[in-house]
């Protein structure tokens, strides 16, 4: 398998298609013959990140690079930024609005899930500028 790159634009307005990019990535990974367990980890992490971009940051861009060794995800948004990363990473912490909570979001489990399901995660954020989240899921079974 050669390295494979794909980019998804995340619409921050349209809730009904939220998760679409994760579904597309999943299809790509399946077609590349990636192990189902690895696909699950990558898609759960990407879905949570994608939804966060929609509900907290008005959309953005996700770049995925798939190599024989790893799935590398870059999620970039121009949203409000995260004031306190440690707090945001705490299970149960959420600033989701009532509207969004009614839809079943806002458990404050997204970021913790992203960390749990990836082998590496790094958040770079600046207030008023945006947030970039880098995640790696290793595909080589070491």
């Amino acid at each position: 398998m050669n390295s494979f790159k794909v980019q998804y634009t995340i619409d921050g307005e349209d809730f009904s298609v939220a998760g679409e990019a994760s579904r597309k990535l999943k299809k790509v990974l399946q077609s590349l013959g990636v192990d189902p367990q690895i696909i699950r980890k990558a898609t759960v992490a990407m879905y949570e990140g994608e939804i966060n971009m929609v509900i907290h940051a008005d959309g953005g861009v996700i770049d995925a690079e798939i190599t024989p060794e790893k799935i590398h995800l870059f999620l970039r948004d121009k949203g409000p930024g995260i004031p306190d990363i440690a707090l945001a990473m705490t299970e149960g912490f959420s600033t989701a609005s009532d509207n969004v909570r009614e839809l079943g979001f806002g458990a404050g489990m997204g970021l913790p899930n992203m960390e749990k399901y990836t082998d590496y995660m790094n958040i770079i954020t600046e207030i008023g500028v945006g947030t970039t989240i880098e995640m790696i899921v290793n595909t080589s079974l070491s």
């Binding site: 009904s16 998760g19 579904r23 999943k26 898609t43 759960v44 079943g104």
Partner: protein, 109 residues
């Protein structure tokens, strides 16, 4: 047990058969918080929820749930049913509440 057999036994309403209607059920998860469902619904699971918005379809397809049962006869928007059909996702409904559904599913699978 297969999804179609569960449908018969529990008299579930079929809103969309989807691609997994004749496939095997393996386990169950009940819950309405989407990020919890996302990380807990396993491939082949029955997922029981009272959520009815579009995002349940994203969870159902990404987790590869064998079927999603909407409990308490909750009203499901037409657009969600249409989308389930487009995406071939098995979407079911019951008048029973989550507790009763869990008990019955637990006995059957």
């Amino acid at each position: 047990m297969k999804v179609n057999e569960l449908v018969q036994k529990l008299e579930l309403e079929v809103l969309c058969e989807g691609e997994s209607f004749f496939s095997d059920i393996d386990g169950c998860f009940a819950g309405d918080l989407l990020s919890l469902a996302m990380s807990n619904v396993r491939a082949g699971n029955v997922w029981i929820t009272v959520q009815t918005n579009m995002n349940i379809l994203g969870i159902a397809s990404l987790t590869e749930a064998s079927c999603t049962i909407v409990a308490n006869g909750m009203n499901i928007p037409d657009a969600v049913i249409e989308k389930a059909k487009d995406e071939n996702i098995c979407l079911l409904r019951s008048e029973k509440g989550m507790y009763e559904l869990c008990l019955s599913v637990g006995e059957l699978i």
